[in-house]
């Protein structure tokens, strides 16, 4: 008997752009799967790659980091630092054997409710196909 796999996806959303974009998706009643849980952060630059490893460890099947488009950062440079950090961290996690498709970074502005909902649907779909993440994950 197989139980339908419901992925557990963590999304770090920058308060100024992507979080507001998520609000926009909500206000416009756009639908996306209930697999995504958002953690509000002031800036994508606040997201420590260690948080992502921690998420995998604690049972996340996918992690999404959503920040402002380049040039739009509320703090001017946070998203550029985030980009550098995750360019490296993603490659490193892949090197350790964690599927690179499980970590995604997206630039979503406050006006892009449609994009937010689309990315959530796409990512949820990707992770559903990949199945549960068992690597670097805490044994139950």
């Amino acid at each position: 008997m197989s139980v339908e796999f419901k992925p557990n996806i963590i999304c770090f959303a920058c308060n100024w752009c992507s979080y507001t974009g998520a609000d926009m998706a909500g206000t416009s009643r756009m639908k996306y799967p209930a697999t995504i849980r958002i953690i509000r952060v002031p800036c994508s630059g606040r997201v420590n790659p260690t948080f992502v490893m921690k998420a995998y460890q604690k049972g996340a099947d996918g992690v999404l980091i959503a920040g402002c488009h380049p040039g739009d950062c509320h703090y001017n440079s946070g998203n550029y630092f985030a980009k550098r950090r995750f360019l490296l961290a993603t490659r490193f996690m892949t090197f350790l054997g964690i599927d690179e498709k499980r970590l995604r970074m997206e630039w979503i502005s406050a006006a892009e409710g449609v994009k937010f909902a689309r990315v959530m649907r796409e990512f949820s779909e990707t992770i559903s196909k990949l199945g549960p993440n068992l690597r670097a994950r805490e044994e139950a």
Binding site: G26, T27, K31, A34, V41, G45, R46, K58, Y75, S77
Partner: protein, 659 residues
């Protein structure tokens, strides 16, 4: 374990139709740490807020979670309610179960499960919350305006009118800036000095404005609300307080030299005032040209001065001022012709730039408004205007549009045609950018009424042949090569940041872009703020712009300053970075990451075993920090943290959400 209260909002049917709010509050009642949980129709309503306040007081709650709409909607509402009930507002967190659950999911079971999980994770965050207190920062209600052009003057006058003292620093001996050099202004063709002189005069006499011309800002320390700046007042060699402005000295001075103000189009004396309406109307001796300074003899000015105000021994003075805000209005310069090889590299006298044309077209200029060419003073019969000379040219390192050239070139051609009716005015352009009220009509007037010839295309070369200037270009619309013999060529050279802007940026710790224009804090939402809190931008210091736009931006910057000064002290958001000094090793890896330069090293004394040791740690200037948290990621040991979004809080939220 803290006593936490959970309030789940129905938001009428908005939440309750897809999220089983009663089930949620019921389940949360049994969650560790939750002392109270309930649901309510509209928590943001007055009775809803009253319920929250009463519950906090009655149950002595130490933290609350409000599961409702987006924190962007009502976080401040609920935090204020909690504060009214005696709970620190930063112990209130919002779970967004409307925009992130009820509105985006249709399956009630899924939405409810997700909502419950979100609430639980917020409870975990609140368990790690701390009391935070806004810091009060004292404020000096005095503004420093750097640059005495139209933008700086506008800022100075607005702020001064609001009742606050202003220090206006200008590097030239007089105010007025570039606008004082202009002939007439587009699109109305009213004369620049007619509209500027009342402004300069008002700046000169305003009781709230301290004018420091012939001066430069050389140092700035402190932070917003509390800057200390040093201003270097260069010597004028004339005691301006004694001087009565009779200008006998200028009249009698035997030494003539090229005038900077006239951009090489006219002469001045070694002791001179730049132009007749200059404010302050006081002369200055140019050390470089003065005969006395060169030879130790002459002193004619001393002899003729009726009030004995010449002071050859005057030295520069450094003045220190405490101020609360700075407005940078350092204006622009034009790209030197020497950098434009294809247009003669500045070696032809009759190839001039836009500002030089302004001077020969100005009624108060060296030719008294008669457009004569510099080489022989003849009235040109044919003028070629070349737009985008350096602008929109990647090879010249100026890929940007200088914005004002299309309009002033049309104006130049028009002014010329009004004087020389049978003259030929040809303009080479790439595009005509006439976006502005009455601008397009103005350009059309030049084409249709004044018969200015517009040729779309670039000029490949300007050279001299048999004593005449030849302009070789292409008309891209007809595809034909064009060769024009011209008496005068006017280059609309690129607008560049004023010389010294980059150094000024470093002095003020305000960033500049690749070209040297000052960076705004946000390209859309904070166009007049710089990245450094308390430093504002106005006019061409930030990017090329015309007079109306400059005045609007300057007024905006003034409004920002006035808003800042309307309070008795500044309050900083406590959700900023904090350093755990016990852990911090002082490596300062965090320092280069801070966009606000809020991180500095500090030497602290700590006890190590039985002796005191000095040690370096990072400190946060809470006035400058804006709470982005990028530094906290650079910190390996976690000594750098962000209040309100701390490592502990995020990790607990994360763990709870991963379950």
């Amino acid at each position: 374990m803290k006593k936490i209260g959970v309030f789940v909002c129905w938001c009428g049917l908005n939440i309750s139709s897809t999220v089983d709010v009663e089930k949620a509050s019921e389940e949360l009642k049994n969650y560790p740490g939750v002392f109270y949980a309930d649901d309510y129709k509209y928590l943001c309503s007055d009775p809803g807020q009253e319920l929250i306040k009463k519950t906090i007081v009655d149950n002595k709650l130490e933290g609350i979670v409000v599961a409702a709409c987006s924190p962007n909607m009502h976080e401040s509402t609920f935090r204020a309610a909690a504060e009214a009930a005696g709970l620190n507002p930063y112990r209130v967190e919002i779970t967004n179960i409307r925009e992130q659950a009820s509105w985006v999911h249709s399956n009630k079971e899924d939405a409810t499960a997700k909502a419950i999980q979100l609430i639980k994770s917020t409870v975990e965050k609140v368990k790690k919350s701390e009391d935070l207190f806004p810091q009060q920062i004292p404020l000096t209600k005095k503004v420093l305006v750097i640059g005495g052009g139209i933008s700086g003057m506008t800022v100075a006058l607005e702020v001064a009118e609001a009742g606050y003292p202003v220090i206006l620093v200008e590097k030239e001996p007089q105010i007025g800036g570039n606008m004082a050099k202009l002939s007439e202004t587009f699109p109305t063709l009213d004369c620049a000095s007619c509209i500027l002189t009342p402004k300069t005069a008002e700046v000169g006499r305003h009781s709230n404005i301290t004018l420091m011309t012939n001066s430069e800002v050389i140092e700035s320390t402190g932070y917003f609300g509390n800057f200390t700046v040093k201003v270097k007042r260069k010597p004028t060699f004339v005691d301006w307080k004694k001087c009565i402005g009779c200008m006998l000295c200028q009249e009698k001075c035997p030494k003539k030299t090229n005038s900077d103000f006239e951009h090489g189009m006219g002469k001045r004396k070694a002791i001179s005032v730049a132009f007749p309406q200059a404010i302050p109307y006081r002369p200055i001796i140019s050390e470089k040209e003065c005969i006395y300074f060169k030879t130790g003899k002459c002193k004619i000015c001393v002899k003729v001065c009726p009030v004995d105000c010449i002071e050859f021994e005057q030295e520069e003075k450094i003045i220190e001022e405490n101020i609360g805000a700075i407005v940078v209005a350092s204006g622009y310069d034009l790209l030197p012709k020497e950098e434009l090889g294809e247009y003669g590299q500045g070696k032809y006298a009759d190839v001039i730039d836009g500002m030089q044309f302004e001077r020969i077209a100005s009624a108060s200029g060296p030719t008294e408004g008669v457009i004569k060419r510099p080489s022989d003073g003849k009235i040109p019969k044919s003028i070629v205007f070349i737009q985008c000379a350096g602008s929109r040219d990647n090879q010249k390192g100026r890929p940007y549009c200088s914005k004002i050239c299309c309009m002033y070139t049309a104006k130049h051609a028009m002014l010329y045609k009004h004087q020389v009716h049978d003259g030929e005015a040809t303009i080479f352009y790439m595009d005509i950018r006439a976006g502005g009220k009455g601008y397009e009509e103005f350009v059309q007037r030049a084409i249709e009424d004044d018969h200015v010839l517009y040729l779309r295309g670039r000029v490949a070369r300007v050279y001299e042949e048999d004593g005449r200037l030849v302009v070789l270009g292409v008309d891209t619309l007809s595809g034909e090569q064009v060769r024009i013999e011209a008496d005068l060529v006017v280059l609309a050279t690129a607008v560049i940041p004023s010389i010294g802007a980059k150094a000024l940026g470093q002095t003020l710790k305000v960033g500049t872009d690749t070209y040297g224009f000052f960076n705004e804090a946000h390209p859309k939402l904070k166009p007049v703020e710089s990245m450094t809190k308390g430093v504002f931008l106005a006019g061409c210091a930030q990017a090329p712009r015309d007079i109306p736009e400059t005045v609007s931006q300057a007024t905006g910057a003034a409004a920002k300053v006035i808003t800042m000064f309307s309070k008795n002290h500044l309050v900083s958001d406590p959700q900023v970075a904090k350093v755990n000094e016990k852990i911090c090793v002082g490596c300062l890896l965090c320092k280069p990451i801070c966009p606000y330069k809020a991180i500095e090293p500090e030497i602290v004394e700590v006890r190590v075993g039985c002796r005191a040791e000095k040690r370096q740690v990072a400190t946060i200037n809470k006035g400058l920090c804006q709470g982005c948290g990028a530094c906290s990621v650079a910190c390996r040991s976690g000594a750098m943290n962000l209040s309100g979004f701390s490592n502990e809080q995020i990790l607990e939220e994360l763990k709870s959400l991963c379950l």
